[in-house]
Symmetry: C2
């Protein structure tokens, strides 16, 4: 079973928005065993929409369209699909009542534009949008399905999950798709490929291997398309077990595993507590930990000590050390980590101090220079890292290095 | 001048990654006056790649391809393009020397897979990739250009900027594209459309208006394609000036303006300082401000007081108040803001305390309940906000509400 995803909107073609709708739709379809063959993004243009839908109908059994369903003049998807399926429009009382009620709750009058949202092609099945004013629409032609969904992400998500997927599963006999991803670190892509070449060559032909390099990590994905899911999943497990024996020190987890999840797991299992003291990373390390459910069990407190006064007052950093070595120095990083550990009575504390730029760099300490320290029951370690030249990149990399150093310390490396 | 963007990789079709490369490429092309007609994503499949490139050659003058250039077996873009352009492969000494040097810096041997990265189709112009091991490639056929770039975002970005765009500008006589976006708040899309209907109808036909609704904001974009840029830009300015007079209280800025940028601007201009005290938002507010260059001029410090002890010790919150009202309460939010303001000697302080979930909710204070307070020279204000049900959404919305409350206090509302 093949699918095409079609996202409509000039904002996609000019790079004004990042298309996350198609990511979410692809995940839903894959999870149900439907293979996405192609994703297409086009503008709010009648001829283009018609052309793309006609082509999708030829290429695949299922087409999911998002966008272009708003009440304003620039949105033409509904009208265009009605023409394509040679359908009249009808007024849907249930949609009208729902739109009117939604607006009334916000104290807004039901106007002519809202009335147009309750007009739907007579030939389609209306997919009721509980969270928005634009309904979804389900069209069929010659055994092919075309679904049109609003572009607002949480409305689209609700309709995919509650309306589209149950109908697709009922409508088609679907096989299964299995993906499983191993996250490795410490080996660049070409060395990793060389190391595991024999294993790769011996993979059964229905398993497809992909290498996905990230900064600091290479993900290895095994995929099996349209198979008996349980058997394929077991075979992938076996293959990853074998792979683990070849590169035991390089596997950091599976799927979307992140370094902070690894540390989160270690701290939680061992009942240890954590504090952070951040200068250049400005709260990013704290926010990465606190974004994870259960962080309150170990995360005691974080200090974003941007000013020197805050470093002294909240973390007990010696003002002389700042004067002598500068705020971006090994000594200050160490004192920040130790101060955070002491203040919070935490088992571990991690600290960063660096030059995020664009200003503030010097020949000796250029923009991107970051000192990172971890204080623990067994002492304090500090490292200097060069984290790039762009402010966002520096904050991101310094946070990643700091969390990795914390992992090493927790593992006693 | 029309372009097609083609991104290659199974990881895109299964929803494993968000395609940001095409966003960045679209911005570059638009800025140079090249209209992106379609974006297509396909898998690492020979027939699909050939079909998509052939179709792109028919549809547009320029095709930018990313992905599938890695050294491993799953990456087949280079080989497929060589076949499509009926070209032999040749060994490029400059690329080989560069790859060898890059690897040597990291202590890695040059192996057979790396050698294959220096093989390029004889018919293409090699685009030297200073930051990676896979070179870009520039093909021409019958006046059409096809460029193949690596999928690693910062390598792709470097090649687009330093190699592709200068060559496209030299190769074609390009006109201009002008986009300008106004950010509005306080009017839902249908009411806004009604309010500005007369203005919209009177727009000159070459200006295209788009409504882009976001949670809490509607963006209005005016676009002019392939025009004389200066005249179009001036006309858009005039139209937005007229629009501003129709909805004076609803315009919060232009382009990608965010609430934190607005606050950043006010604090910087007025020489005021800021501190944060975050519980449920866990450092997100601090990180939003500190992500902006120049934040160190006003951002003094932030405290992520996850534990009650941290609230008491670092912010001076009265333990009795926590015992009596609970950590998530108006009283504690007020004391956190006042404590942060006092500790940091800041002019303004913003505090959040709430239940980010998934655990910790009750009937009286369900997951998503957040108290937000701002302490300022003129006193302290606190509001309660319901911020949704998903942990990430709650953190995001609570941070946005807090920054908006800070803006209101700075504006004396």
């Amino acid at each position: 079973m093949k699918a095409t995803i079609l996202t409509i909107g000039d904002e996609i073609l000019i790079g004004q928005i990042v298309d996350t709708n198609s990511v979410s739709i692809a995940k839903h379809l894959n999870a149900a065993g439907i293979v996405v063959r192609e994703k297409i993004s086009i503008g709010d243009d009648r001829a283009q929409i018609t052309g793309a839908v006609e082509r999708a109908l030829r290429m695949s059994e299922v087409t999911i369209v998002t966008g272009g369903l708003g009440p304003t003049k620039d949105d033409i998807t509904k009208k265009t699909l009605a023409e394509l399926f040679r359908s009249d429009m009808r007024y849907d009382e249930r949609v009208a009542a729902h739109v009117e009620r939604m607006l009334a709750e916000r104290g807004i009058d039901f106007n002519e534009l809202n009335r147009s949202q309750a007009m739907v092609p007579a030939c389609c099945t209306v997919l009721f949008n509980a969270y928005g004013t634009a309904p979804g629409m389900w069209f069929e032609r010659d055994g092919h399905v075309v679904v049109s969904l609003p572009g607002v992400p949480f409305e689209m998500e609700h309709l995919m999950q509650d309306e589209v997927m149950p109908r697709l599963k009922a409508r088609f006999a679907l096989r299964q798709i299995v993906h499983r991803t191993m996250i490795t670190a410490g080996l660049p892509e070409s060395m990793l490929a060389e190391r595991i070449a024999a294993w790769e060559s011996a993979l059964p032909p229905y398993l497809k291997l992909a290498y996905l390099p990230n900064p600091g990590a290479v993900r290895l994905r095994l995929s099996a398309y349209e198979v008996e899911g349980d058997a394929a999943a077991r075979e992938i497990e076996r293959q990853f077990e074998a792979l683990r024996r070849i590169i035991p020190r390089n596997v950091i987890g599976y799927e979307t595993a992140t370094m902070q999840e690894l540390v989160h797991g270690i701290l939680t299992r061992r009942g240890l507590t954590l504090a952070t003291a951040e200068s250049c990373t400005g709260g990013t390390i704290a926010s990465r930990f606190t974004a994870m459910p259960g962080a309150s069990a170990y995360f005691l407190c974080g200090v974003v000590s941007y000013s020197n006064e805050a470093k002294t007052k909240l973390l007990g950093v010696d003002p002389d050390a700042i004067a002598r070595h500068g705020a971006v120095s090994e000594e200050v990083a160490r004192q920040m980590a130790e101060g955070a550990r002491r203040t919070a009575s935490a088992d571990y504390a991690v600290a960063t101090t660096g030059i995020a730029g664009p200003a503030g760099g010097s020949a000796e300490k250029p923009v991107g220079t970051v000192w990172i320290a971890v204080a623990s029951p067994s002492g304090t370690v500090a490292v200097r890292r060069q984290c790039g030249s762009d402010r966002g990149q520096i904050i991101d990399r310094a946070s990643a290095f700091a969390i990795a150093l914390l992992r090493d310390c927790l593992n006693g490396n």
